[in-house]
């Protein structure tokens, strides 16, 4: 099919080994090799090893690596701190996802209005996404100090603010809020793109029929952007389970263990207390939770998502 100029008999008689298809296959393998080998070495093998390590006790300093059977799993089930960690993780993730998604949708709807200077607002709402994460968190830890910025402002209005990062409830609110303001811009942009993709004829038809704006939003907008909502919610939930730096800088998991989420607990056990075997067991717990949530959402997607490309 390729050699147009030469006679077809010639090409049939002297067919070279390196046909187009073979060369293509080779090129394909060469192109994906770095990525595929990388995934094998840095994801798949470590994933298998994490199971293997969870059956061991590993002491880096003494350089011992001993088989312990299911001991780490017994420990997991009887760990008195773990229920508190799981509750903190659940509260953090649920509040984060709900707050993040609703604020992102509100901002996207606002930015979708025909207003002069709307790109300036879009830029400003998005700006925390590009501010260094730890820098952002350090500023908030200053603002939320007992004698810091926020309480200074509240004091101005005669309100005595709480010591935000030193009470369990307000500390949890603080880590959620700081994280949402940092990253909501991403979801906001994705929602905005989805809103702009809704065909305008649908709204025109609804307007002709005299359907009020709120019902248009519920009956047209939400179903039309539901694939984006679904995808971003998966990403946001999985992302919420990975939050580490904000906790490490703002609260160090405290006060008590009130903001010790699973990833932070895993880090403490493995790299602060050097319980690597138990850290590996906690990694598996994290993996199971992420996998279960992802699976659940793919199942739900079939029932909730109204429309899909």
């Amino acid at each position: 099919m390729t050699v147009v100029a030469s006679p077809s008999e010639l090409s049939r008689r002297k067919r070279p080994y390196w046909t187009m298809a073979r060369r293509d296959s080779l090129a394909g393998y060469v192109f994906v090799a770095p990525q595929a080998i990388g995934i094998a070495v840095f994801v798949l093998v470590p994933l298998l090893l994490v199971f293997w390590y969870s059956l061991h006790e590993w002491n880096v300093l003494a350089q011992t690596f001993r088989f312990k059977g299911l001991e780490n799993y017994h420990r997991l089930l009887s760990d008195p701190g773990l229920p508190e960690v799981l509750i903190a993780t659940a509260i953090f993730s649920i509040f984060l996802v709900v707050f993040n998604m609703s604020l992102a949708l509100l901002l996207a709807v606002l930015l979708n209005q025909k207003l002069r200077g709307i790109t300036v607002f879009r830029t400003l709402f998005f700006s925390p996404v590009v501010v260094s994460l730890v820098a952002w968190t350090i500023v908030w830890s200053f603002l939320l100090q007992n004698n810091g910025g926020l309480n200074g402002i509240l004091d101005h209005f005669g309100i005595e603010g709480p010591n935000w990062l030193r009470h369990p409830t307000t500390a949890m609110i603080a880590v959620v809020v700081v994280q949402v303001f940092k990253n909501v811009g991403l979801n906001m942009i994705l929602f905005l793109a989805a809103l702009q993709g809704v065909p305008k004829e649908l709204y025109e038809a609804a307007r002709v029929d005299g359907i009020p704006a709120f019902r248009q939003f519920r009956r047209i907008t939400l179903p039309m952007i539901s694939p984006t909502v679904m995808l971003t919610s998966i990403i946001t939930i999985v992302g919420s389970l990975q939050v580490f730096a904000q906790i490490a800088v703002l609260t160090q998991g405290g006060p008590g263990m009130s903001t010790t989420v699973l990833v932070y607990y895993l880090y403490q056990q493995a790299f602060e207390f050097h319980n690597f075997g138990y850290g590996a067991t906690l990694s598996i717990l994290l993996f199971v939770i992420v996998a279960a949530l992802t699976f659940l959402q793919w199942q739900m997607r079939k029932r909730i998502v109204f429309y899909e490309n």
Partner: protein, 280 residues
């Protein structure tokens, strides 16, 4: 929804947006302005929105307390290599998965996608042992190798694949008829057309590397190896209390360059993310 709004409605919307902007804009503004205030003014009541007195000595002190210039260089060169490497390898893999018909392509793609489902935190313990056995602890290798080849790069590969799938095949057909090799086609035809997707991937990858925190504190132990996020938390006095003004100066130096690039190129940033991110 996009009707012309009444003037009263417009004022209400502007007002609402201005109020909502406060927690998005104030922290950055506070960081930059406080970094040039004398320490007593940082705690002033009521808070000073615009500094009345200036003290730039904190910027010098940041470099004296820690090898901050070295740490800045560490973050910058690591992010540059990670971004460049990801652009090369992820666009190659993304192109092959989208365009080249080879045996087991779909199976391989599914295997690679597993990387999207496994947070890197899950594998941090085995990775630590792996790099320990390779003698790479307290070096920058883990911060380069894992992002370029491991789980974080899968998202880039996915975006590139989605982009190449949408690219019209006809653009390449002529070159194939002329007998051009795959690599030539990729390099001279497909890649130049994929600038928007490459831009989005570059932004994502750079920010990810620049913000990395768990991996540096796990893999690095000496201050001259530290990256910026890690260094920022180390500006404390002998009692472990934060030296706020110096910390805010260092934070400003970390955040401001990226912020300035963003403001200049905000169109490409935002639209690149919106159009290539998560479509299809």
């Amino acid at each position: 929804m996009k009707t012309d709004l009444s003037p009263r409605m417009k004022i209400a919307l502007y007002g609402l947006m201005l109020i909502l902007l406060v927690p998005f804009v104030f922290p950055t503004w506070w960081m930059v302005t406080s970094s040039v205030k004398p320490i007593s003014d940082i705690f002033a009541f009521p808070p000073e929105i615009i500094p009345s007195r200036f003290d730039f000595s904190t910027y010098g002190q940041a470099f004296e307390l820690q090898p901050f210039a070295k740490q800045y260089w560490n973050s910058a060169y690591i992010a540059a290599i990670v971004t460049g490497g990801t652009l090369i390898f992820s666009s190659m893999a993304g192109y092959a998965f989208a365009r080249i018909d080879f045996p087991f392509a779909n199976t391989l793609f599914m295997v690679v996608l597993i990387g999207l489902l496994i947070p890197s935190e899950v594998t941090i313990v085995p990775l630590f042992r792996l790099f320990l056995s390779w003698d790479m602890i307290n070096t920058h290798w883990p911060l380069i190798l894992v992002p370029v080849f491991g789980a974080p790069s899968v998202f880039a590969t996915f975006i590139m694949r989605q982009f190449f799938i949408a690219l019209p095949k006809e653009l390449e057909e002529a070159a194939r008829v002329d007998g051009l090799g795959r690599f030539k086609i990729f390099w001279t035809i497909a890649l130049p057309l994929s600038k928007p997707a490459l831009g989005a991937v570059a932004i994502f990858t750079f920010l990810h590397s620049w913000n990395l925190y768990l991996e540096p504190i796990v893999f690095l132990s000496s201050p001259e190896k530290f990256t910026l996020p890690q260094a920022l938390t180390q500006f404390t006095d002998a009692y472990g209390g934060a030296m706020w003004n110096i910390q805010l100066a260092a934070a400003t130096m970390t955040a401001l360059p990226v912020l300035i690039v963003f403001v200049i190129a905000q169109r490409q940033f935002v639209e690149g993310l919106a159009h290539t991110g998560l479509k299809g």
